[in-house]
Assembly symmetry: C2
Homo-oligomer: 246 residues x 2
């Protein structure tokens, strides 16, 4: 039976980290909220689960995954579950734990990237928190981005199996997620990120490599890949796009 991915229509968002794993593995899946009402899909189908009055194991928010009757919520938890099934997790338990820790660190950075444009409230317009957004973006680019990226670069460089992968000697969902994270930041901060490849060569090479994986490349070219846009987690506002720190 096909996996069912539930995530907001119209944005890549956190759902994209799961999509990339499903796509790279060539897994059979339905992107439910993007489907048609006629097929009992669409956003309404997602909301029926989130707003269920009787079911016990309901997620707080999308993305979530249904595998048969079983629901898994939280992006990193979904990848923890899917990774081994899709051949995108290390075989070793300790490396799996390390991979999950990395994925949670990526998730932390995604929150911070989101908050660069919405530091006060997700429910308010960007225009109503623009001054705070400028201050938060400046700090993010000067301090936080280099701190996270130096760490991920270090993880690649210290991988005993070589710096082509974050964990072990094969591609895992962590590599795919690092790709998405860098893509998102490059969309949001093209000026700041213009020095990225020189500063973080192992990450830059990983990004190239993941983007060139045949199934990922086909996916990125397809209409299943939603373009980056200004409703999404990664957003481009030129006034927020500054130099990154060291």
């Amino acid at each position: 039976m096909a996996y069912e991915l539930y995530y907001w229509d119209g944005i890549q968002g956190r759902g994209e980290f799961v999509r990339l794993a499903l796509e790279d593995a060539g897994a059979d899946y339905v992107d439910v909220a993007r489907g048609s009402e006629a097929k009992k899909q669409g956003t309404a189908a997602m909301m029926r689960i989130l707003e269920s009055r009787k079911d016990p194991y309901i997620p707080f928010a999308p993305p979530f995954l249904k595998d048969g009757d079983f629901i898994v919520s939280q992006t990193a938890n979904i990848l923890l579950y899917l990774g081994p099934k899709l051949g995108l997790a290390p075989a070793d338990d300790k490396l799996r734990s390390f991979a999950h820790g990395l994925q949670l660190t990526i998730a932390d950075m995604v929150v911070e990237a989101h908050d660069t444009h919405h530091p006060i409230a997700s429910g308010l317009y960007y225009e109503d928190q623009k001054e705070a957004a400028k201050a938060r973006s400046a700090d993010f680019l000067r301090h936080r981005l280099p701190k996270f990226m130096s760490y991920f670069e270090r993880v690649l460089d210290h991988n005993p199996a070589g710096n082509a992968h974050a964990v072990g000697s094969d591609t895992t969902y962590v590599d795919l997620s690092l790709f998405q994270l860098i893509e998102g930041l490059a969309y949001a901060f093209p000026h700041g990120m213009s020095t990225f490849n020189k500063r973080y060569p192992a990450l830059a090479a990983l990004r190239e490599r993941v983007g060139g994986r045949p199934k990922i490349a086909r996916y990125l070219d397809s209409n299943r890949r939603i373009p980056f846009n200004k409703e999404d987690i990664f957003r481009h506002y030129s006034e927020l796009d500054q130099e990154i720190g060291h």
Copy 2:
């Protein structure tokens, strides 16, 4: 061999979610950064690991746990690892996954609680982001806190094994973490949280019950429990403490 917990000295922070599980289980552990240099402990011992130039599997940030040579990072990942060993996780795999999803949702709320007083940058003083903090706190208390707490209350009420526990019929690390989350919010926002028990009766009862567990009660009374303070994730500033929404 004793577990080694590594977390910043002087604050409860994210380390506290792990401490509560270790304490409730009566596990043998060392709180390394709070130990003495003479015993090769202290903050310097923690920094040696974080700044290691050669080890491959280094965490991004505290808390992390060492079990022998094995390092686990990220609070929720540590609890995922420790839960079964400490008898604080459900036996069933699907319930374990649900428990982990809940713990990640708690972690998300902890980030938001932190950002009420530091919406612009962790590296800046509160006083330098006070106006933004007021706006963020107002939104957090009006919208976010009720959204999260209604969800957790719903999880308790829909637990097929009864509303005394978040998952299954026994105490898990999720119950302990919900206790800590509510304690922290009550410290930070005593005025806003004054209506909490009436609004969220199942969570209020859970908080009472966890606080009354003999080992937890002894721990809370001991000097191992660091008092809440203004360097911590949960902070009390009267100007941020407003009514919570519905």
